[in-house]
Symmetry: C2
Subunit: 543 residues, 2 copies
């Protein structure tokens, strides 16, 4: 059981007799007691299920993307023939590397590659290829480009915008068999991996060496690093470790014509020409396939602390954030926001008792990571004393060990999965100035009454809000109430209509709300430069 902060603080105050910034009697009088049941268990599954093994939803009940979207197959693309299948088999050697639904019925084997984990997007592919080397990827793409066969690169298939599943009969190029850790240097912290290495596998490996992957997200148990880079994933510790544009040192990628972009640098600094690899970070597999990644990994912190707060208003959340930045400084590694509705969904789905006794409109999870446990504890205590004494935070609890840390994180990371139990969820992943971050949720609530709720949560530290509207069933009526309203709202504030999820097929039509015509024109120029036949991940991104 994680401990109520009050108890911890009084213990610490008694022990240290340190001067509190506010008179102690006032402090004790104003903070609320979080009486927690000793029997509480935190069992929510906080990792998303692997898409390929997710058979809970019968395939036939998932609507084809071609039925939900008004979209036509590009007639310039060839149709896959038996000869093509034969050719891929000859390249890949191993029978297991080709799932052939062209010359035989392979529906059951193929469907997991055809649909996303949210059961929102479903394609019509009949062929999955699973290369084991960069050279094989090169041969596949070269052939596809010459034959004008469309291709969808697929990593862990854990995306949220339908970017990694086919729409029509695009060949799925799955990276799952390219899963080797290539090298690690324990002085520099530079890790080189195949594109198909699962994020959690890499992070566990790094943990053994005293290092940490500079990216973490709910889907870490299934997402792949190549996919993370291709979608420029942000995640939970962006606040501390920053963007993949800074942390990725090198990329090996295969261009549509089979050219291998060999830029797998293990150097932190290398100013010799245009940094072309950056185009592939966030390129969503539309100009090439990432087969290798070199990344600078920071030292893993010895001491990690997680606190969980209840707060009475978004105003107070902002105050708490400002205080956290100031007082926790360099040890702050996450500041996550969850509204009351989001926690109601997790409670309902998991049946678990919430870490905090009372109900609050807002909750925050704060994580610190540092090299000296005693120092961090002192900083955290001073911070907690201040925010509770000043009534910025109404109630709070502090994890006492790793199990409790995971349990508290589960109330944040479990939101996506909990919402997944609704019939469907309209998802908006937006970036807006901090002071207006939650206003979007409140205003969307007013406009929408048919939904099961309007949920707001996200990465407060990055001004990144996840606005989710769970519904019994997707309907044009609800969609119309939300769109373009939400996008226009964001545009007025010069925000981003996709902060970290990318465009895929879900957001591509709305890029104009966040980018000028000039920028879109320049992007299309890049697409044409690398993929003149347009075979890579078509119907998405810029189309």
């Amino acid at each position: 059981m994680s401990a109520p902060i009050k108890t911890l603080l009084s213990r610490s105050l008694l022990r240290q007799a340190r001067p509190a910034s506010i008179p102690r009697h006032r402090y004790l009088a104003t903070i609320r007691v979080a009486q927690q049941a000793a029997s509480r268990s935190f069992t929510v599954s906080y990792r998303r299920r692997d898409a390929a093994s997710d058979t809970s939803e019968p395939h036939h009940s998932v609507k084809y993307t071609t039925d939900s979207y008004d979209i036509e197959r590009n007639p310039a693309f060839a149709e896959i023939s038996a000869e093509d299948v034969q050719h891929f088999k000859s390249i890949l050697g191993d029978d297991a590397a080709v799932i052939d639904g062209v010359t035989q019925d392979a529906t059951d084997d193929i469907e997991a590659y055809n649909k996303d984990w949210m059961n929102k997007y479903r394609g019509h592919t009949k062929l999955v290829v699973r290369p084991k080397s960069t050279e094989e990827v090169s041969q596949i793409l070269k052939y596809c480009n010459e034959r004008k066969l469309a291709v969808v690169p697929q990593g862990g298939n854990s995306g949220l915008v339908g970017g990694s599943v086919p729409v029509f009969d695009e060949i799925v190029l799955n990276l799952g068999r390219m899963n080797k850790i290539r090298s690690f240097d324990d002085v520099s912290g530079i890790l080189v991996v195949d594109g198909g290495v699962i994020l959690e596998v890499a992070d566990n490996y790094l943990a053994e060496q005293g290092y940490i992957f500079p990216l973490d997200l709910g889907a870490k148990g299934s997402c792949q690093i190549g996919g993370n880079v291709a979608t420029n994933a942000g995640g939970l510790r962006f606040l501390r470790y920053g963007s993949l544009h800074g942390n990725v040192l090198g990329i090996e990628a295969v261009l549509p014509d089979g050219t291998i972009l060999d830029d797998l640098s293990k150097l932190k600094k290398n100013n010799t020409g245009y940094d072309i690899k950056q185009l592939f970070i966030g390129g969503e597999g539309t100009i090439g396939v990432i087969t290798g990644v070199s990344v600078a990994c920071p030292r893993r912190s010895n001491a990690v602390n997680v606190a969980f707060f209840g707060l009475e208003s978004f105003e107070k959340v902002q105050q708490a954030f400002k205080e956290a930045k100031g007082q926790l400084g360099e040890i702050l590694s996450a500041f996550e926001l969850m509204d009351g509705t989001s926690q109601d969904f997790v409670k309902k789905v998991t049946g678990n008792k919430h870490p905090l006794e009372g109900e609050y409109p807002f909750y925050c999870l704060i994580e610190t990571s540092g090299s000296n446990a005693e120092h961090d504890q002192e900083k955290l205590e001073a911070f907690l004393e201040h925010v509770m004494g000043e009534e910025i935070v109404a109630d709070g609890t502090l994890a006492q060990d790793d199990t409790q840390i995971k349990a508290l994180w589960a109330w944040r990371e479990g939101i996506t999965e909990a919402l997944g139990h609704a019939g469907g969820t309209y998802k908006y992943d937006v970036s807006i100035p901090l002071n207006e971050l939650y206003k979007l949720v409140e205003e969307s609530e007013r406009g929408e009454s048919k939904a099961l709720g309007v949920v707001g949560y996200g990465h407060m530290g990055d001004s990144n809000l996840h606005l989710n509207v769970p519904v019994k069933k997707y309907s044009k009526e609800i969609e119309k109430a939300l769109e373009p309203y939400v996008y226009e709202w964001i545009q007025k504030r010069s925000g981003s209509i996709s902060a970290e999820h990318g465009l895929g097929i879900a957001k591509n039509k709305f890029i104009g709300y966040s980018r000028s015509d000039t920028m879109i024109g320049l992007m299309k120029q890049i697409k044409n430069l690398y993929d003149p036949n347009g075979i890579m991940n078509p119907y998405k991104y810029l189309t």
Copy 2:
């Protein structure tokens, strides 16, 4: 006067009676006493002089680049006519915005723009334009592109590879008048500036708001942020704050055809399409001119400490670095390396007394920045105790106040300027695996006897070495002894032949030692895409 570490440590040991990781008597017995003269003064100028005001070297004594390099003017470029000058005057309105050496004699006014601060490169330009707005830059470039007039964008002209001065008669487009801080958000820490804002001006402005610019370098008093971004400057605190590829959130740039790339995002996350601005970071003004930059700035640390060490071997330097990473963790903000020869040059030029009494083959400067002075002090003391007790460090001193911090930094930052007093310096800015970092200096020493010395220093934390070979006079003989030897040495170790200085005209011929033909081919494709007439900063970078 900064204090000898031994004194500080014994004081701290007495005060705290903390358990040392090694027996105290051994500790006291093994560290060496740094007896420092009370009258010591640190007066070395640690900021580079502004290029435009540097008139110490008579212009005529500086060799033209066209005489030192075997290079021919591209006949496709037009020659500047009186009509062109008239046109620029009509665009820019203000007479002061055009320095016209075409229709009149303006040699004295123009020469500062024609040569670099090292007196190594000198061009033949007869026209300098100094626009005040992005719109003016757009009109200038559009005209130049149509007329096929070549252009050199110029910021603070503090580069080290001749990238910001003309070779032949390219028009100098100087950004110095675009020097406005456009906006700053004190919650998010996002700063938006004109490209011509001087780095130190921006950092001083941020200091008032409790923030820091995530880049610092010796030339901060004259270099401009647009130039820093165009050259992807690394500098002194890369170790802590990381790369501009991660910190720059948005760029406004003008393409050669006059198109304004309007990507001045103030968002930390924005996954809506290819991150095209990244091509301009490190593009060295060859595909456009950066007129605006948006950058994420971290909070300024309350507590800054600087220690300066003498060490007996490079082996010990590596040990000290590993210990610093482990024990100082998140507060380590710089770990700089200087060899004995580098310090001899600074001593000689400044006449100052060195912070350490004895002479050592290696010196290190360690900086910590944190939010809690007491905690940082404790971490630093434990670290110092350890590295001195274990005889990793032979002697050391710790700055006691801001003046001493600056003074210690001057022994690191002053190296470039001190070497500038030689007749010339062969400069190599390389990235190689840490364990071999200094081997390059030792091996270059063996091969070269005609030089005034072989100097090694740099950013240990980033595996970034500055190998400098000061000479009385540049000579083919010395050059041949060094090149291609140095480049081949780096290539064998998959290093970078230009870690942070860029290519310019000094390194462009050697790009093949660090990049494959495929990568160079892809880079040329990008150049041709944006600048088909090749008017931007010609004769450099990829040519």
